[in-house]
């Protein structure tokens, strides 16, 4: 099962390597990992997407909690939550493709944020499925490069992860 784990961790040098080291040392899988400071600059928030059985996910959350710098850990996928990632796609946009690219970007509520004679950079936000659907919808041979932030997530309503 795919799980989204959110972690509040002290914003200390090496905190990221403690987390990533834990995953590699214990053979856990990381699909994506994002990290940035929160509104409180002494705290970082990480979102990790991992795939594993319930037993493994339970161990992952326990092991993350065991790290001395970890303040809180929550498995967002246990209840209602929202997840988003951001993708930038550079595509070839010449001739008739130029118009088609604009149309598809509009359908996916993407924004064209850089325009040159031959290329667009399209910015797209959404969940992981939407990113995949967009890439499937355009002609693969026109993709020049893509970059994704990985998933970040937040609980719905009163589910709050805070110190």
């Amino acid at each position: 099962m795919r799980h989204i784990i959110s972690i509040l961790i002290e914003n200390e040098a090496g905190a990221l390597s403690r987390v990533s080291g834990l995953f590699s040392a214990r053979g856990y899988n990381i699909e994506s990992l994002t990290v940035a400071p929160t509104e409180d600059p002494t705290l970082s928030r990480m979102t990790i997407v991992s795939i594993g059985s319930d037993d493994i996910i339970e161990q992952i959350t326990k092991q993350l909690n065991k790290l001395i710098d970890t303040v809180k850990v929550v498995d967002l996928s246990e209840a209602a939550h929202i997840e988003r990632e951001l993708m930038l796609v550079k595509v070839r946009a010449t001739g008739k493709d130029r118009e088609e690219m604009k149309r598809v970007a509009d359908i996916f509520r993407g924004r064209i944020i850089d325009v040159t004679e031959s290329a667009y950079v399209i910015e797209l936000t959404g969940n992981t499925n939407k990113m995949g659907a967009f890439l499937d919808a355009i002609d693969r041979s026109l993709i020049l490069e893509t970059v994704r932030t990985g998933v970040c997530g937040i609980g719905r309503g009163d589910r709050i992860l805070k110190v």
Binding site: R18, G21, E58, K66, I68, D69, V71
Partner: protein, 570 residues
């Protein structure tokens, strides 16, 4: 008053009432050594290799519950210490390791004796710190001591760049520490404890399984009290020996790969299992699938939530400090009217006695060859079961665990989790510093002892009258045993050729050495070592049966009840 970083380090150690620091000097810790030199409250123990410094500090801690402290230099000082740190980490031993680092401005420039200490040690410490500002130094050291001993204990490393030890700031040592990210649980959940008691009282075939957590948390008395109140059988892991008196009738001895027949059978066949400060590791329960074949309810008391339901599913988890949880459990047992059903318990004991009557630790003794088990039995007799026994790793370690009956906690000092050869001799040194009058025996083999033999020199310098019992069979015995059993008798590299003359070697270091090759000489030699040479280090080189194997044995990946009991079954 403004103090230098080096002065602050020493002041912090003094505030923590540290009496001994095990270490080895080098470039980046020179300021700290300079301050050590100027005071006499803390005694520095100069080892001959950093690995030994950590093992000694580790055993100092294991044998006393004081926090062991070591001090090493940057680069190779630290990398040499890593084996010791990992050893302590695997057995959850509280340690504070202070390491020097190249000056802040040189970090990352491949400076002389630079190593990424925080990076290298990260997976084998409870936590580590790199101090980047002298103002953070005192609080960091306080945190290191706090983290090392609270919760599930472990080694904590503080890496201090050389320039930080020279810079000055106001010294203030915090009295207490609170960390928003670290709040270990102490008391167990009362409701869970109640549930556990109900399960225990309803049990037909109950069993208690106790591990190193009992020793680490000083819970042996409480475990003993509870076990006697319940009248249940108890087994201990390699790390838990001494947590319950081995000579008591309710003790079934050690379980696991080389556990007794009765302990392993009872563990497998019980219907309610109470696990106390133990972690169901592979050397203890064998194959988890085979273990799960018998339906049983499992109650697990542990301070570390991640130890619970890691290898086996647990029915009643109790997260808490073992003595606190046992206190509550004892209280509830005492107020509860209910008792375990005596008839069921009696018939369970009858079954256990049948298993026990197999006498699975018996061995054949001739008049020509010294059996290694016999040496341990004689050591037990001569020392009245009251010695601190350290060991290295291999066959001798298992024989020591099987034949020396530990009635008290913190007497059996061995590397259980990591299985570190070379642990025994430096460990014996650490024990002796923590317990200056104690009788200390190091049971070792001719392979292991050579992994830290240089410490004979440290023993001479500090007059440590350790008794080394080398069970010399000329083989890396446990490797040979596995090769015999699982690799068609192909003894690849397990023969230790070109052994030194250990008697002469001991003498060269200024100690006493004996070689013993006849069974009849075993006891007199041990007696002479412990009585006549009470105040000297004696190296007893026992020429033992080269073919002796450790039994019972549960082969790796097999089930607990699938034991090989003797040579004839191979």
């Amino acid at each position: 008053m403004q103090l230098t970083g080096a002065e602050i380090v020493i002041r912090c150690l003094q505030e923590e009432k540290v009496e001994h620091v095990f270490g080895y000097p080098g470039g980046s810790v020179l300021f700290i050594y300079d301050e050590l030199f100027k005071q006499d409250q803390i005694k520095h123990i100069l080892v001959r290799h950093e690995q030994a410094a950590v093992h000694a500090a580790d055993a100092y801690s294991r044998s006393s519950n004081k926090i062991g402290v070591c001090l090493v230099t940057s680069g190779p000082g630290v990398t040499n210490a890593v084996t010791g740190i990992a050893t302590a980490h695997m057995d959850s031993i509280p340690l504070v390791v202070i390491s020097g680092q190249v000056p802040t401005a040189y970090i990352g420039q491949d400076a002389f004796q630079e190593a990424d200490t925080v990076g290298i040690t990260r997976p084998c410490v409870k936590h580590n710190f790199l101090v980047k500002d002298v103002k953070d130094l005192a609080e960091t050291i306080k945190k290191a001591f706090y983290l090392a001993k609270t919760g599930r204990p472990g080694p904590v490393l503080v890496d201090i760049p050389k320039d930080i030890t020279a810079k000055k700031c106001e010294f203030h040592y915090p009295k207490t520490i609170s960390m928003r990210s670290y709040n270990p649980v102490v008391k167990g959940h009362t409701g869970q404890i109640k549930k556990a008691l109900q399960l225990l009282l309803d049990a037909k075939r109950p069993m208690i399984y106790a591990g190193g957590g009992v020793i680490l948390s000083d819970a042996a008395d409480k475990l003993t009290k509870m076990t006697r109140l319940l009248g249940f059988p108890i087994t201990q892991t390699l790390m838990g020996l001494g947590g319950y008196p081995a000579t008591d009738r309710q003790s079934l001895g050690m379980l696991g790969m080389h556990g007794t027949y009765e302990a392993n059978m009872a563990m497998q066949e019980c219907d309610v299992l109470l696990a106390v400060g133990a972690r169901f590791d592979d050397r203890v329960i064998g194959s988890p699938d085979h273990f799960a074949k018998v339906a049983r309810k499992i109650i697990h008391i542990d301070i570390d939530p991640s130890s619970i339901s890691k290898r086996v599913r647990v029915d009643v988890p109790i997260v808490g400090n073992v003595p606190d949880v046992l206190d509550e459990l004892i209280k509830q047992i005492q107020v509860s009217e209910a008792k375990a059903e005596p008839k069921a318990l009696a018939s369970w004991w009858k079954q256990i006695e049948t298993w026990r009557s197999k006498n699975s630790l018996k061995y054949k003794m001739g008049s020509d060859l010294i059996m290694p088990q016999y040496v341990v039995e004689k050591l037990y007799e001569v020392t009245g079961g009251d010695a601190f026994v350290t060991s290295d790793v291999g066959q001798h370690q298992m024989w020591a665990a099987q034949y020396y009956k530990f009635d008290k906690p913190r007497r059996w000092i061995n590397s259980g989790g990591l299985g570190t050869m070379g642990f025994g001799l430096p460990a014996a040194m650490g024990v002796r510093f923590a317990n200056p009058k104690a009788t200390v025996a190091c049971i070792t083999g001719e392979g292991s002892i050579q992994m830290n033999i240089q410490e004979l020199s440290t023993c001479k310098q500090f007059h440590l009258p350790v008794k080394i019992l080398c069970l010399n069979n000329g083989y890396l015995g446990m490797v040979r045993q596995w090769q015999q059993m699982f690799h068609g008798n192909r003894y690849a590299e397990s023969y230790v050729d070109a052994l030194p003359d250990f008697v002469k070697l001991a003498e060269a270091y200024g100690h006493v050495g004996f070689r013993i090759d006849k069974p009849a000489d075993v006891e007199p030699a041990i007696r002479e070592a412990f009585v006549k040479h009470k105040n000297q280090l004696v190296f007893l080189d026992f020429q033992t049966d080269k073919t002796a194997n450790v039994f019972p044995m549960v082969a790796a990946g097999k089930g607990l009840s699938e034991m090989i009991l003797a040579e004839e079954e191979l």
